[in-house]
Structure formats: C-alpha cells, structure tokens
Symmetry: C2
Subunit: 176 residues, 2 copies
C-alpha cells in the first residue's frame, strides 16, 4: 500500500500492517497521588540496558495518560497466556469500573508502589524519566528500578488481531 503523492499513508493500511507484527501484551499500571489506573498496551520496547530503560506508548486521548504523568511512575506487566482475559478488561471492552478491572487479577507491589500483576511473565517497576508527544500518542521513557519474573508459564502473543499462546516448554522452535 502506497501513500498518495504528497499525502500520507492511510492510517488503516498502517494498522493492518502493524497487525502482522506480533507483540507481547502488557497491562501498564500506576498508583499514587493521582490515583490508581491500568491500561492494556502492546507498544512496549526495550531501549537500553545501561541504565535499564524501556518505553511505552499510550494514547493521549486516554484518560489514563494524565494519571501516569501525574504519578510519575508505572509498572509494565507482561501477560502470561492464561491472563488473556485481562487484556480485554483493561482495554475497556467490558466497561467495568477500574476497581472491578483490578479485581479480575491478583496484585502485589514492588518499591515504587505501582500494582504488580501476580503471574505476569515479567513486571518492570519504573520511574517515568521523560515523555514525548508524537501525534496521537505519548511516548513514556521509563527507568526500570526493579523487575520480577515468573519463569513458568507461556507467553501471550497478539498477532493478526488474535491471541496466541507461546508455550515455553512444549513449543516447537521455528525450524531453521
């Protein structure tokens, strides 16, 4: 798909192509003076391990966005395959209250106090270092202070707008 001359590539064509890029699914949480919230995101990536830094992109139109900024901290909780129901709940599909959304999972916390999802494949307890507005989204650059991993369990992968289960133990490595 090509952008028209002098124009921009169609947003739908871009989203369709991004659907062909598999991704982990994470619940991004925060708790602090501005309140507790959580939102589903797949736009998470590692930036550098020195100092340990990741980034997360969150829609500016989302009511969660201002809460993350005000609290200045967040936790990235990457879902295990058996936590796929939380993806829809924290994406707002069920229209549950925030308290009801959190009630659907089990939570603990690390040093910075953001909700840490029990059984996530990995949780990253972060301080927000810098924010950058790009079009419709905010890019949060986050310094990772503490991590927690859950070594059993399979990964939840989103691809072609469906969820898949990557079984760490039993999965077939790609042939090569």
């Amino acid at each position: 798909v090509k952008s028209p001359v002098g124009g921009s590539l169609d947003s739908q064509a871009f989203r369709n192509a991004m659907a062909r890029v598999s991704a982990a699914v994470s619940i991004i949480t925060t708790d602090g003076p501005a309140g507790r919230t959580g939102v589903t995101a797949s736009a998470v990536c590692s930036v550098t391990d020195d100092p340990p830094t990741l980034l997360v992109c969150i829609n500016r139109a989302s009511r969660h966005n201002a809460i993350f900024k005000a609290n200045g901290r967040l936790c990235v909780n990457t879902l295990s395959a058996n936590q796929d129901h939380l993806s829809g709940i924290f994406a707002g599909l069920t229209k549950d209250s925030m308290d009801a959304r959190f009630a659907a999972g089990a939570w603990s916390e690390l040093a910075l106090g953001s909700p840490v999802l029990v059984g996530a494949t990995a949780s990253f307890d972060c301080e927000i270092n810098q924010v950058r507005e790009v079009g419709t989204h905010t890019v949060f650059f986050c310094r990772v202070h503490e991590v927690q991993t859950h070594m059993e369990g399979s990964a939840l992968v989103y691809f072609d707008r469906r969820y898949y289960n990557v079984r760490a133990a039993a999965a077939q490595p790609a042939g090569g």
Copy 2:
C-alpha cells in the same frame, strides 16, 4: 530483582526480564548515499497511526547506526517463521560480509529505495523523522510512507532467547 539502594538495577537482571517479553524479529535495512546495510532488531514499536509512525532502537556502538542516520531512511522488515536464519545472519553471528548477508534473502524495494524483504510478514518503508540518544541506544522515530504485507505465513516470535513459530492458520488461540 531489586536495585541496590542509591544504585541502578543490574543490566543482566533487566535483560533476563526482557527475555520474558515476547517480540517479533525484524531486519532493519537502508540504502542510499552512505551505503547499504541491514541489522536484526526486536525493539520496534508502533507509536501513532496519525501520521503513521513507528520507532526502532539500535545500538549506538553498531557500525550500522551512522549509516541509517546518514541515509535518513530505513525499512522495517518483520520476519516470517521460515526466515529465522536471517535473524542470526543480520545479527552478525555468521560474520558474513554485508553482501553475503543480503544474498541470503530475496529483496525488492518500494518508493524510498531501502531493501524490502520478500516474504516478510510486513515491511514498512520509512523516512527517519527524529533521532533521540538514550544511554547505549538511538531511538529512531520513523514516518511510514508505504507498507507491504504478506498475509500467508506464520510469524517468528523471540521468547526466552529462543525462536517460536506462531502459525496464523493452524495455531491454537490462547484459551479464555
């Protein structure tokens, strides 16, 4: 794993936790006045669809980094499961020359001229909009001008430092 008081989380602990976050694998390519190059990356994410924008993180120590910057354009080619051998080749594991690396795949091009991998699940032909240095890595913010997708074929997923095959047609969606 907790960072020591007043200190930083250990880089190795951070990398171990990031290994528990599944990711697509892409070959990032460019061609232009500064030459042709390609490198394997998993730190790719969608930023906003208006205007269509993605970002890629590439090590500053990599010799490819300056070539991307000088050419001002790049293409993100997300690998199909049957292209897993290209991941190692473009990560430099085989120590092949750049010409030999490209000879291991089939390539075309779109409007901006960066190498486009035939059979990739998706290719994003981009102009580099902005670069931001963060620790050891450069974050390239890229405006997507054109996309190409390959709708058959399975996705290559990297998880727990191994490759997995997410079969779009036959795969079992995660239960829920």
